[in-house]
């Protein structure tokens, strides 16, 4: 069963979880044996930027040691499963339309056929 996880909302709870929850879930599903691909769309295309950074935060006296590393985690994921990015969403944000390997850009025009090539499409 071929599954596509679509991530279109970036940075949800990343400070609390110390990662993106759906990137994390994709790692876990892959590790559990899922035949998985991931599509980054909308604000989530920012994850392909190597310069993307978060700093640890301190609230009250409670300091965080491990800031989320969204780019690092999605890059690690892309070394195990295909990670696609919508080209127009990159362009709209002024991000290079051709992301570095291992990410793969696709256009909106190809989305219908792309979605149909998966048995399940889960839009998170």
């Amino acid at each position: 069963m071929k599954v596509l996880n679509i991530i279109s909302s970036a940075y949800r709870a990343v400070s609390e979880e110390q990662d993106d929850t759906i990137v994390w879930l994709s790692h876990a599903l892959h590790n559990a044996g899922a035949d998985l691909a991931v599509l980054l769309s909308g604000s989530a295309v920012n994850y392909v930027l190597p310069a993307e950074r978060s700093s640890p935060i301190t609230i009250g006296g409670r300091a965080q040691r491990n800031a989320p590393d969204a780019h690092g985690e999605v890059r690690k994921l892309a070394e195990k499963v295909p990670v696609f990015v919508i080209r127009e969403d990159l362009e709209m944000r002024g991000i290079a339309a051709t992301p570095d390997e291992p990410f793969r850009a696709i256009t909106r025009a190809t989305l219908p056929a792309f979605l149909l090539s998966h048995d399940h499409v889960w839009h998170w």
């Binding site: 940075y11 609390e16 110390q18 929850t21 609230i59 009250g60 409670r62 985690e73």
Partner: protein, 137 residues
């Protein structure tokens, strides 16, 4: 000397779901650091932010054990805010909406928080210099 200022915050998101919560807590942290008395009305899912039984965990995806992961929990951040406010002699009043607590079985909150009603929110808002609502999307 100027009268000390008071801010009231209404939070609505459940823990671990949205970045609004961390942002709101950071703003509250800034308020406390500036000597401002703070009220918080936790509504709906936000009543679980100070839930006593939140636990840190190891993270196999990150390859870190529980100590290395050092997962900061919302209840710890709230406890730290309460402690910091106390150190500075500030009032910090965290009120959980009681009906929201009952719906979720979330009655066991950390020390320094209390159960209340929308009437508490109204009173806090009425007596504050300003109010910031941080709702769910």
């Amino acid at each position: 000397m100027d009268k000390r200022k008071t801010l009231t915050f209404a939070l609505m998101d459940a823990p671990f779901e949205s970045s609004r919560t961390a942002t709101a807590l950071r703003i509250i942290d800034c308020a406390v650091a500036r000597g401002i008395d703070v009220n918080v009305f936790a509504y709906e899912g936000a009543v679980l932010l100070p839930f006593r039984h939140q636990q840190p965990h190891a993270n196999m995806v990150h390859g870190r054990d529980v100590a290395e992961e050092d997962h900061p929990l919302p209840r710890e951040w709230i406890a730290a805010l309460i402690a910091t406010a106390a150190e500075h002699g500030l009032r910090f009043d965290w009120v959980n909406c009681g009906l929201c607590v009952d719906e979720r079985g979330a009655g066991d909150s950390i020390d320094g928080t209390r159960r209340g009603t929308p009437a508490d929110f109204w009173k806090m808002a009425s007596e504050s210099d300003n109010v910031l609502v941080v709702p769910t999307a």
